[in-house]
Amino acid sequence: MRMSAVSRGAVSGLILVLAGCASAAEQPASIADFVKARFLARVTADFRLPRIDDVAVGADDVRRALNRRLEPDVFANAHVVESRGITVVQDAPARKAHAAILVLRYPDAATAQRMQTALEKQGGFFKSTEILTRYASFAAKGTLVLVYSETVANPSVQSFLNSIPAELRDSALVAK
């Protein structure tokens, strides 16, 4: 899978958002930035000297990676707005927390909602994958946000996946 690095260890700006600073300049720049900030807030406290990788994944690469993992063809008629992979790593003892963020935009809200319903029906786990991979999703106004993780044995990651749909709803970012 081809990839391009966006940033490594770039957390400081996002922490300001989490701390509740309300000025417009400190609002997350995008839905993916918001999800990343919520993820880091949830998991990094458990890590000692965490190293953070943030990788942008191309539309073709994410389509190739996910097409056989999901029942609905979420990419049909969709524009890939953002696709990112965030990994928090601790070297010793070895620990890892991963979240991938995919933001898709559809021509209308009904299509996005139909995809959301199909994803809920699939049950929250990727199919045809050797790594147990859990996902959470949220749709509003033609946008679908899919967040998934390959580190589901990490309790903080489980907690993050449980809460992120409601946090997206409350943020109103997706509806903007």
Partner: protein, 181 residues
């Protein structure tokens, strides 16, 4: 190219979370023992070298989503590695640890969990455990084999084509099913 010998041992050396592939997501997480794989051969100076890796040897299968059983190669057996499969991808996310060695049919050697935060399944493939484990394993195979190609991808392909690598599974019994608490 020089010959390489892989031996998958019968002694349990650790334990990692796993799940019942391919339909057992809802059955929860199990614990599976890990074993030692020893890769040995000679380096470019002719000196004998060996290194050990922690691996999955057995796994858990659920074809109906209701029941699960332990599977994997238990009998004593030796195979010649058939090929390097560069396009085999375990991850749905970005990873540098792609590709697999074909032992025979669908029995492969490929990447396994970096840490116990990941829950990998196996139904008999050997999976190399630990951070960057599969890359380190492949780097060591290159060191042992001495392929001539200039790129890493070319070297791995060359090793696969040479069929100079064997894998021996030391016979042992399959472990029992063990649920993670």
């Amino acid at each position: 190219m020089r010959k390489v010998k892989l031996v998958v041992g019968d002694r349990k050396i650790g334990e990692y979370p796993t799940w019942a592939y391919p339909k057992g997501e809802k059955l929860g997480v199990y614990l599976m023992p890990t074993y030692e794989l020893t890769a040995s051969g000679t380096d470019s100076q002719g000196s004998a070298v060996a290194r050990t890796f922690e691996v999955f040897r057995f796994g858990i299968q659920s074809t109906d989503g209701k029941s699960a059983r332990v599977v994997g190669l238990a009998a004593d057996q030796t195979h010649t590695i058939k090929a390097w499969l560069p396009h085999y991808i375990v991850h749905s996310a970005t990873s540098t640890e792609n590709g697999a060695w074909q032992v025979y049919d669908n029995f492969l050697i490929h990447d396994g969990p970096d840490t116990k935060d990941e829950v990998f399944a196996s139904i008999g493939c050997v999976e190399i455990v630990g951070p960057n484990g599969f890359n380190e394993f492949n780097d060591f195979l290159i060191q042992l084999s001495g392929p001539a190609a200039s790129s890493r991808a070319g070297r791995l392909a060359e090793i696969g084509k040479a069929k100079n690598m064997t894998i021996t599974y030391i016979g042992t019994s399959r472990p029992s099913l063990k649920k993670s608490t």
